[in-house]
């Protein structure tokens, strides 16, 4: 996926929205910036399929040896699918954060708040300030 087509959470999750027969499906991952900040990843805690998430709710966590970050859902909805290959293949996050590094797909149940997500340029600016 091209980052320019994505929306971002301030907390470094990206989301890609696509329409389907029964509403919008969000694919969610974490940004390249976040992966670089965490350095050597050692663990990802994934949500259960079927779990209902509110926008802003913590759905998992990602860890390096000496740091841990909670992952926050950019959208409200139900978890449809998780990328269970990640746990044994954490290099994917640095190799392809916006593609094979996707974490979960969520069926969006409430679209309010989506317009408050950042576009790539705004997010990049935020990262430049943090970095």
């Amino acid at each position: 996926m091209n980052p320019a087509d994505l929306k971002f959470n301030k907390t470094h999750e990206w989301v890609h929205l696509e329409a389907s027969e029964d509403g919008k499906i969000a694919t969610i991952g974490i940004s390249q910036f976040a992966v670089e900040q965490l350095t050597d990843l050692v663990y990802i805690g994934l949500p259960e399929v079927g779990r209902t998430l509110a926008a802003g709710e913590s759905f998992g966590e990602i860890e390096s040896v000496k740091a841990v970050s909670d992952l926050y859902s950019p959208v409200s909805g139900d978890v449809l699918e998780v990328n269970s290959t990640l746990s044994d293949n954490l290099e994917v996050f640095s190799e392809d954060p916006y593609g094979a590094g996707w974490i979960m797909k969520v069926k969006v149940t409430d679209e309010s708040g989506i317009d408050q997500l950042l576009d790539e340029a705004t997010y990049a600016k935020q990262c430049a300030e943090e970095g």
Binding site: D40, V42, Y43, E63, S64, V65, L90
Partner: protein, 488 residues
């Protein structure tokens, strides 16, 4: 000299049929095991523990011990941990039959000496802290914090107030927010100023009627005494909150000033730091807490009390929070603390702090020229230096410096704590180091900062292992031996 074979894992040394301990034949008549316990409850075989001869056990562990640095063998300036000399006399005392071989449920009249000791220790700790009532029950500093916050919660319940927040500075130990959370409090972090003190503006913006406790470490983790402490206490008290003092750094102020005199309502001691209970490779500690009179009814039970008939364990404390651990407390550690306090007396304790602070300032004066100390003009018992310049100029990190020091026979300072100072080294020499060992340390530290970056990145070079792969350890954790684990 080390024997590498004996430092294989004990499971690899095991040979079927070896046994160190032999138990006597059963001397009571009676039935077979199977007649006493139905076989459905019995295991087919005992656990598959290793089988070793006694010389195996001794050689194995003795050789393992030589792989450790320790206070007995090395200068160990691990900031915040107060790695002072652990008196041998206290070990012998704590091992006396009349100390070590007492059952916790013995009748009070059979343990009058122990109860007297603990009663006097309660009084001494109260006097040293300026807070009148003491519970010796908590097992470690972190449990002392937890216990004190439970006491605070019980106090607020008793006066019908619902307070939900605990504040702690950004430089605080992680145990502070972790303890607060375990008592159900929301935790808020108070910023530090550039000078390293509590940011009063930030405190005031977060201080409201929902704040139960402000947890302060003073002297702080930067080794500074926060002069605002009285003002902080007044502000917190004015809103009905309590001040908790994290006593991790008591080694700086024994007989100099007392938490109870600068506004603290409760505090814990770390006797394994301040009063020289040995650190034991990571414990045991103890975490006695002292509180002001209004909080005393809520302290855990039992406490040692005195009546006409002698000393007794007082369980009749209806407002007590109950218990945070089994039995009385980490008595063995408390006995050592008592012996330490008796060895020093009032003058001696003050001299401990005076010399701890003198040593830290002396070492600081030697180090600050090549590793800047960003906070304070002087320090208390420890100071925090930073390697940010070295990192910027030559990519040499605080960790590189720490690792290289090991090559020269010095334990490293604490690195990367407190979290508020980048590339930091927290150095605490304690009062039980000589000027010459501090001189040698300072000279070595300087030499290390001049060494080539490549050499430092791969340090240590002389230890049996170097730079263990922590990423690998965390990705696919191997947390026990199995026959297939093999040797690396």
């Amino acid at each position: 000299m080390r024997n590498r074979q004996a430092t294989q894992l004990m499971f690899e040394l095991s040979r079927p049929g070896r046994q160190a301990a032999r138990l006597p034949e059963c001397d009571v008549p009676g039935s077979s095991t199977e007649d006493l316990i139905p076989s459905e409850y019995l295991a087919e075989a005992p656990p598959a523990l290793p089988e070793l001869a006694e010389p195996d056990v001794v050689r194995h562990f003795t050789n393992l011990s030589t792989l450790n640095m320790s206070v007995d063998t090395h200068f160990y300036p691990l900031g915040s941990c107060t790695m002072k000399y652990n008196p041998k006399r206290n070990e012998r005392i704590a091992g006396m039959d009349g100390m070590a071989h007492l059952h916790p449920y013995q009748p009070d009249e059979t343990v009058q000496g122990m109860l007297k000791l603990l009663y006097e220790l309660q009084s001494d700790l109260a006097e040293i802290s300026g807070l009148p009532v003491v519970s010796l029950q908590p097992a470690a500093g972190a449990q002392g914090e937890l216990c004190a916050l439970m006491v605070a919660a019980a106090y607020f319940r008793s006066i019908g107030e619902r307070r939900t927040k605990v504040l702690s500075p950004d430089s605080a130990h992680g145990t502070n927010p972790a303890s607060a959370r375990m008592v159900g409090f929301e935790t808020l972090t108070i910023k530090s100023t550039d000078e390293g003190y509590v940011d009063m503006q930030d405190l005031e913006s977060k201080l409201d009627d929902e704040v139960a406790v402000f947890m302060i470490t003073n002297p702080s983790t930067l080794g500074l005494f926060d002069q605002q402490v009285n003002e902080i206490a007044e502000k917190v008290h004015a809103r009905g909150g309590l001040i908790y003092l994290d006593g991790a750094n008591m080694n700086a102020i024994l007989g100099i000033t007392r938490p109870g005199d600068f506004g603290a309502d409760m505090m814990h001691y770390n006797p394994h730091k301040t009063f020289s209970g040995p650190h034991g490779g990571g414990g045991p500690g103890a975490g006695p807490i002292c509180v002001g009179a209004k909080l005393a009814p809520f302290l855990p039970s039992p406490m040692v009390a005195q009546s006409e008939d002698g000393y007794f364990l007082d369980y009749d404390r209806p407002q007590s929070i109950g218990r945070v651990r089994s039995f009385f407390g980490n008595v063995g550690v408390l006995v050592r603390a008592y012996a330490y306090i008796r060895s020093h007396g009032p003058d001696g304790l003050r001299e401990v702090s005076e010399n701890a602070v003198l040593n830290a300032n002396y070492l600081r004066s030697r180090v600050k020229h090549f590793l800047p100390v960003p906070h304070g003009e002087s320090c208390m018992h420890e100071f925090v230096a930073t390697a940010t310049d070295l990192k910027k100029d030559r990519q040499v990190t605080a960790m590189d410096i720490a690792k290289r020091l090991l090559d020269y026979g010095f334990h490293a300072p604490t690195v990367y704590f407190p979290l508020t100072v980048p590339e930091c080294l927290m150095i605490e020499p304690t009062e039980t180091e000589s000027k010459e060992s501090m001189d040698a340390f300072a000279e070595t530290l300087f030499r290390v900062t001049e060494e080539p970056a490549d050499l430092l990145h791969e340090a240590p070079h002389t230890t049996t292992v170097s730079r263990p792969d922590e990423v690998r350890a965390a990705r696919q954790p191997i947390m026990k031996w199995s026959a297939t684990t093999g040797e690396g």
